[in-house]
């Protein structure tokens, strides 16, 4: 026994003397590594669909994009050529109608919830109703508008129309717009409102000149996202806006939209139509991703 006896401290009886450096072979560390790997694999699986869908849309749809595609009418089944010009115009028109309805109503409703209601039963009820409306399946919004607008023919005796489609999309946009307005206004510091009242502004002036402009960024972000979501909706349009192989003939007649075109042409047994469905997907996805990045940019601008 040449080695000197180890120096003993009073505490060494209490602590075991396992080294303090990291030992990967310990059970707890192997368990840790295992779960980190699993989470990483799950994250990779979650990202995979976006990559695959985007790749196919870009390749299959992107190679078809040409001036003619964007400006011509779809061909009759069995014929070659043609484009999706009417559907692009239709999507813009129907989404515009929906925005013109949903944004004023939604911002107004959000203003009421945030600025006027003092957490009374009515505000609670509207808030709850808004959450319920946000959960209503989009196809039900279509059924609703079909029952209220299409079958009753209340607009100049027209049944299927661009206006009906726009109303159906507005029903879907409304909860998002109300919610983002309400939450955006709640972020405005109370001192701003007090300051406005202090210099003698009325409530109306305070809301329209001080509070709403201060909350512009979150509201604009939410509105852009709501528009992007509405532009891609199909289910509420199938039996409200219907479809049309022709150029839009005003807001009171059936209208083609890109989303319905994709649905109709995807299930047709013609390759030309299938290719047009991919091309429409490309245009639609680019518009929607563009809007999403725009929304992101708006909210980033405000933070700087």
């Amino acid at each position: 026994m040449a080695t000197p006896a180890p120096i003993t401290y009073a505490t060494s009886a209490l602590f075991d003397r396992r080294p303090l450096h990291f030992d990967p072979s310990l059970r707890r560390n192997r368990f840790n590594l295992l779960f980190t790997t699993i989470a990483g694999v799950f994250a990779a699986i979650a990202v995979l669909p976006l990559v695959l869908v985007l790749a196919h849309v870009l390749v299959q749809g992107g190679r078809l994009v040409s001036f003619g595609l964007l400006t011509q009418l779809p061909p009759p089944p069995g014929l070659d050529g043609g484009g999706i010009g009417n559907a692009i115009l239709g999507t813009i028109l129907v989404t515009l109608i929906a925005s013109l309805i949903a944004i004023p109503v939604g911002v107004g409703g959000g203003v009421y919830l945030s600025e006027y209601s003092s957490r009374g039963w009515f505000a609670q009820f509207v808030g709850f109703g808004n959450d319920v409306l946000a959960g209503v399946p989009s196809i039900i919004a279509g059924v609703f508008v079909y029952g209220v607008v299409v079958t009753t023919r209340i607009f100049f005796d027209q049944s299927y129309s661009a206006l009906a489609g726009g109303i159906a999309l507005a029903v879907l946009m409304l909860p998002t717009v109300i919610k983002t307005t309400d939450e955006g206004l709640k972020l405005v510091p109370q001192e701003l409102r007090w300051g406005a009242y202090g210099v003698g502004a009325s409530k109306f002036v305070t809301v329209t000149r001080i509070t709403l402009p201060s909350a512009f960024t979150p509201i604009a972000t939410g509105v852009v996202l709501a528009i992007a979501r509405a532009a891609g909706e199909t289910a509420p349009l199938i039996f409200t806006a219907l479809f049309s192989p022709f150029w839009p003939e005003g807001v009171f007649s059936p209208i083609a939209t890109m989303s319905v075109l994709i649905f109709n042409f995807a299930i047709m047994p013609y390759e030309v139509q299938n290719a047009l469905a991919w091309a429409a997907s490309f245009v639609l996805v680019m518009m929607i991703l563009g809007a999403n990045l725009l929304a992101r940019w708006i909210s980033r601008m405000a933070k700087v």
Partner: protein
């Protein structure tokens, strides 16, 4: 000017500005206007319910509760039962959640718990959010032409191995319940990930520090401290995703096969309430419209109860820490 008992105040030391009636009127009008706009939510919600209920009344009177349990959908003889669609709605949404919940929560943990650099975390988060922005109809198109042909060999293998069980005893031939479930996974995954991510981010930092302070490993902290603290919000998010999966229409309609006959097999074509509506509503007339409205009413009741349960869970189960 009204006379004030205090003469010092009466001597025009200051004048109180009276609000002009016009200003008061504008204030009141604006308040009433926003009140009206806020009521739109209630009106639309009530309108949806009344429209669907009114439309369904004829079918409710004719078929009664048998509508829920019979599976013949026969427009020629005007006999309708929605069992196939109800079964399909429940099975596709529940099974898709079974797959999507571990994936979504795992992804959320991966991008909140400081396992990888921030830039990579943000990139994954952004990609999952963008996946939510892809329209359902585009996912359906992708499912028809890309996903379903790609997974068919795997489904064939499942059939060969598990063909003895009634759930896999049909040969996969294109559209069916299994591809529909997979495309639903893709659709609800972003919802679950986003909500789980928010929930995990809101766990107070003291809880993490406390767990690490007593010497736990990262996953020890995740399993015994962080996930229990976030579980109410995550469960609420899962319920919201369930509601979304039940009502999801386009992608499912394009890939589920829209069968009218009942088949227990997941590899066979099926149907959901939403896809039945999407397919038949435009061309239906007479009592078929009413039967479809009845199915829509069932779908509304299902999604409504799931959404209300989600809100209740978030409020009731939240931990007090």
């Amino acid at each position: 000017m009204p006379t004030d008992p205090n003469p010092a105040l009466n001597a025009d030391a200051f004048t109180l500005r009276r609000r002009p009636p016009a200003e008061k009127l504008v204030d009141l009008g604006f308040r009433q206007l926003t009140l009206l706009l806020a009521s739109t939510v209630a009106i639309v919600l009530l309108g949806i319910f009344l429209t669907v209920f009114q439309g369904a009344r004829e079918a409710i009177a004719t078929f009664g509760l048998n509508f829920l349990t019979t599976s013949n959908w026969d427009p020629v003889n005007e006999q309708y039962g929605a069992f196939v669609a109800i079964y399909g709605t429940l099975v596709t949404s529940l099974l898709s959640l079974l797959i999507a919940v571990p994936l979504g929560v795992g992804t959320a943990i991966f991008i909140t718990e400081d396992l990888i650099p921030t830039a990579l975390r943000d990139a994954i988060g952004l990609m999952v959010e963008l996946l939510a922005a892809i329209p359902s109809v585009v996912l359906g198109l992708w499912a028809i032409f890309v996903m379903e042909p790609a997974i068919r060999p795997a489904l064939n293998l499942v059939h060969t191995l598990l063909g003895w069980s009634p759930f896999f005893n049909t040969v996969p031939q294109g559209p069916g319940m299994a591809p529909a479930i997979l495309i639903l996974v893709v659709m609800v995954l972003p919802i679950i990930t986003a909500i789980a991510r928010d929930a995990l981010n809101q766990v107070p930092v003291e809880l993490r520090q406390g767990a690490y302070g007593v010497g736990t490993t990262r996953w020890g902290a995740i399993f015994s401290v962080i996930l229990p603290a976030a579980i109410s919000a995550i469960t609420g998010g899962v319920m919201l995703a369930l509601g979304r999966a039940m009502g999801e229409t386009m992608a499912v309609t394009m890939i589920i096969g829209n069968a009218l006959n009942f088949d227990l097999s997941l590899l066979a074509p099926g149907n959901t309430i939403a896809s039945m509506l999407a397919n038949q509503f435009g061309e239906a007339d007479g009592i078929q419209v009413s039967a479809l409205m009845y199915a829509a009413l069932i779908l509304m009741v299902l999604t409504f109860s799931v959404n209300v349960a989600a809100q209740w869970i978030v409020r009731r189960l939240s931990l007090r820490y």
